[in-house]
Amino acid sequence: MNTVTVVGASLAGLYAARELRAQGFDGRLVMVGAEPYLPYDRPPLSKSFLTATATTAVTDASTITALDAATPTVTDRATGTAAHPPYASAPEDHLALTDPEEIADLAAEWLLGTRATGLDQRGRAVLLDDGRTVVTDGVVVATGASARRLPGPQPAGVHTLRTLADARALRADLTCGPRRVVVIGGGFIGAETASSCVALGHDVTVVEAAPLPLLPQLGPDMALFCADLHRKGGARLLTGTGVAGLHRMAPASASGVADPGTPRLGPSNRAPSSPSGISDRPDPSDRPDLSGHVTAVELSDGRVLPADVVVVGIGAVPNTSWLSGTSLTVSDGVLCDGGCVTSLAQVVAVGDVARVDGVRAEHWTSATEQPRVAVRNLLAARTVEPVAALPYFWSDQYGSRIQFAGHRLADATVRIAEGSPDDGGFLALYEHAGRVTAALAVDCPRPFMRARRELRVRQATAA
């Protein structure tokens, strides 16, 4: 293999680049990334990044860091010359996943701010949005996922949270005094964002369409526990109701007065609800003027929640559109075998975009663990090793750290093995047919580590 192209220059893409070099690939390595940044870490975006005080916020221009100086192979697409990516220092420095020394060691060509728009039938050429083509022998698909949006245009004050740009915009909206914040979706990102907003002193309401947030991930008992975290933490949680539409100010020309009479998806023309309770029909009043700021969220039960800031946390969609027209099978992610190999032996997929052996994990740890195996199989030109990782994720909410590992089976029972949910930390074990298949801990790191190790050993011996 002479050239390997990694498409998606974030967590999984960086780990793939590291593995390529560590496993002896010394050919041409091309990193294509749609965002204009070197790889950065997303989990802090809903946590410490939002709560970092405004005084530590800095403007891009004043903060060229070491990351830029030593990245001579980062190409500016406009000029074709070496560029300084707009990577800000503190508080954003701590988001950097790599450093100048490593960038130099990887000896890759970084095409940042450049989007792949296509892959040829045999996976031998990656097409770029600037018209160029990278001819390649191997491809690592690491394009991750994008935040799902509400249908229709997004009024000012309405945010999703996936990228650094999203997080900066949201943080800017949260630093102008106390706000009424409505978070749509009670999943992990919604819950963490709500928690951060409460910590910043805002008035926070979380709207969840299901009877309880996190029900599919955690099961009823633990989902109930997490729902209580909102209440104890100082946020309102409304469950079992979807969102009918958003109210917004009349366009700026109409003197900025709230225009409460026109929810964008009114009761009369409300689209049928999707399972998430979010209508996915296009906005019928698709107005070109987006300047009107959001004023309220209208729920499907008719209630209207006044809002200055709305955060939409209704999941993520894998970034696969650039693969349409190839022979790769795409179905909520790129289908791969257990070793991250797609239907083309020289194309592997890793991270949030990959459906590995039927499962698409959207966890940080999967994105860091899959690349070793994927790269091994890519360099071997066939699947010589499957991924054996045990699913793991964590979440920080209202001062509590939640950690989960393993597979929760639908009719598992939950046993508290350590501590108590009523005070302080605890470890809960999910049992199915007499066997522990998953563990969840809240502020109980040591016992959780032991349980996670045991699960890993059990999985290895069962395999």
Binding site: H94, L97, T365, T368, Q403, P445, R446, M449
Partner: protein, 143 residues
């Protein structure tokens, strides 16, 4: 010099967290005492709650591992060391000698920072400091 606890109150395999600024974690790794900054150099997790194996501690959040003798990470996602601090035992009480927080740790590749061994009283005053302090002060005593 900060008193930590009685030697017998920190059995092998155990750790304790000191509420200093920044907090410090003290470990008894199979009979050798070590102290390092408690907060993982990767993100926000407490190493005193980590998994101890030999003289390595694994971070409870993303499983970076640190060599307690040097503070250096042995695997990703951590890429920077944690500061080490000198430990001594005086009259059966464990003490930590905080490394000057303004000193940036130097990668301690040379094994000049031998660990304290509980079975060898003379070497108890181990130094993990990479700031050039003398590793021994002679104040250690396991008795």
């Amino acid at each position: 010099m900060i008193p930590v606890c009685r030697l017998e109150d920190l059995p092998a395999g155990e750790s304790v967290r000191l509420d200093t600024t920044p907090p410090v974690a003290v470990f008894n790794a199979d009979g050798a005492l070590y102290a390092v900054d408690d907060t993982c150099s990767h993100q926000d997790a407490s190493l005193s709650e980590g998994w101890l194996e030999g003289c390595l501690v694994e971070c409870p959040l993303h499983a970076a591992s640190f060599d307690l003798r040097t503070g250096e990470p042995t695997c990703l996602p951590a890429r920077r060391p944690v500061r080490t601090h000198r430990v001594s035992v005086v009259d059966g009480t464990i003490h930590v000698h905080l490394t000057d927080p303004t000193v940036t740790p130097v990668p301690a590749s040379a094994p000049l920072t031998a660990a304290a061994s509980l079975s060898a009283p003379a070497s108890l005053a181990a130094s993990g400091s990479s700031a050039g302090r003398a590793p021994m002060t002679g104040e250690g005593s396991a008795a």
